[in-house]
Symmetry: C3
Subunit: 243 residues, 3 copies
């Protein structure tokens, strides 16, 4: 079981790297068969990508950052462990990407905790592999609409569209995730792992085949003046709100 | 916003060409960001392909006709504009193909206004790219059944299977489409267009890769004696009904 | 219309071969346009693969057995006949594979008659082509979860997830299947067959392209000591239960 830290769990390069290393350790430690992903920040599962990593830095930094994001997704999506997301707070963008990579998603029943890929609202777009995972989870039509409109689903709607598997009262998210974990651990590991890999390999391979191109694509997009400007405006707003 | 004409809006070669040109103009005119497609023929959104274009003509004509149909679909399916279908009448076959290419579908709540791909009922089959769009919209299993049985869905069923996104009282179809358009136009164009393209490119590319073969396939199918005969019988019936 | 025999309709090599030959005959006899598949064993549609064919034999036998299973699936999945499954009993594993290959599934409304691909519970995994058919029928996410957990769905859940198309009282399964057959036979055969092929060809082709590799994969998996041991333990239990 794991918890994560910063103010709103934004996915800094450091946090991404830390998560990858932790997952790797748990996978290699045969005493662990499953992990519950949850947040120790009140009201936020993860706010997603860390905009300060994407703003006012050099291309090499953007490339390193994006590679770390790909790495985390590949690790979680193909993990041999059972991963259950206990989503105890808002779960937009990168937070949703991590949740989508788990085997099962439990969302706290609080209408303020919305989940979804809202990239278009910020003028940016989700990468194709996140789109693929979205389509796999909620189907092509729902993904097409949700991605274009940048929809964030409140719990009841998230459940209906299939973006989460269960909604639980806020104080029972973790216990619900634990009961669910027990169901998954009742299955022989080897057969479950091979089956998971069979289901997910084609989607992961699409990214693996064009990983560098995807990094280049991200870097050149992020380096555009218009994108840098709109990210700066957005960051400024966030800072003022805090201040 | 646009309306179309003939008796039942059957997709004549002339109408197809006109629609493609109009769409092209609107795409190039930067003052337009979205288009609502609707019908000014009472009780019919579009009756679909114009059988008189498919009957008693020469192969070159059939080829030109099918190419125009492909072109309209490619233009609408990949349009950079937001396309909302305000379906204010029956919407079988080719009418449904156009609706499927839009971003959002509102259907008038009248049980006589059914929507679907009913090609098999006439002894013909939908092309593979229409099948692909159908699968993308309602899923593989529902498409498999609906296509084989030539199902035409009344409003409530069309909504349930996901073939339309909303059902509205007949006199509110247009206003509903307009409100929906406002939601789509609230999204930054550039991010929305890139996202739409990411969702639809693979499906459109499948047609682009085998466009000529698809035309040849249509022409040789249509030229068969048995098909020509059954279309003539069907046309004769339609003429008698009018007379 | 057909019925099948053994104690629990387990798919012995003999039964598989017999089914393939029967289907072939019916396809070639132009007086038959549709077939209803049902069981004459009380309470079991089919218990699935015959474990005695997979245990304590030589690799050549396993290869022959698996080839016969592939053959039955290809025959049924691509059959030009309308196939309706009248599922009048439990329908796990291989039984479910056959049902998935039909055009329509009616399940008897008895909570003991569960249907699904429960391979992981036995420590084995479903082949990729069965996974593909599962995804086509219930969608990627539902298939991912059901396959990993080896879920067996009772009638109401099977209907909800889309694994069966209708649930009928136990004594009306056959009559329901017959009414449904009438709907399918109302469609011109040629157009329906071409449409069915268009929907299913890509999935069947994936198996055809790697048929030998799939056999090799099955044989080497089954020959493992650990798998042989667990199958023997399981068979022993079944024998004691009977004894």
């Amino acid at each position: 079981m794991k918890f994560r830290n910063p103010p709103v769990n934004s996915l800094s390069l450091e946090l991404l790297t830390e998560l990858v290393i932790s997952l790797e350790k748990l996978e290699n430690d045969k005493t662990f068969r499953g992990v519950i992903l949850t947040s120790d920040c009140p009201r936020v599962f993860s706010a997603g990508l860390d905009l300060t990593e994407m703003c006012g830095r050099n291309p090499a930094h953007y490339a390193e950052y994006w590679k770390a994001m790909q790495e985390l997704w590949l690790r979680t999506y193909l993990s041999s462990l059972v991963l259950v997301a206990a989503i105890n707070g808002a779960c937009p963008a990168g937070g949703c990407v991590i949740a989508l990579a788990c085997d099962y998603r439990v969302l706290a029943d609080n209408p303020k905790y919305r989940i979804g890929l809202n990239e278009t609202l910020l003028g940016i777009i989700a990468p194709f592999w996140v789109k693929d995972a979205y389509v796999n989870t909620i189907g092509h039509r729902a993904a097409e609409q949700a991605l274009q409109l940048g929809l964030l689903f409140p719990p009841a709607e998230a459940l209906q569209v299939g973006l989460v598997d269960q909604v639980a009262p806020e104080d029972q998210v973790l216990s619900t995730a634990l009961s669910e974990m027990a169901r998954w651990l009742a299955i022989p590991d080897h057969a479950r792992q091979l089956t998971k890999n069979m289901m997910r390999k084609a989607t992961a391979d699409r990214l693996l085949r064009q990983r560098d191109a995807d990094i280049q694509n991200f870097v050149s997009f992020i380096c555009r003046d218009s994108i840098q400007k709109s990210l700066q405006v957005y960051l400024e707003k966030l800072r003022q709100r805090k201040g």
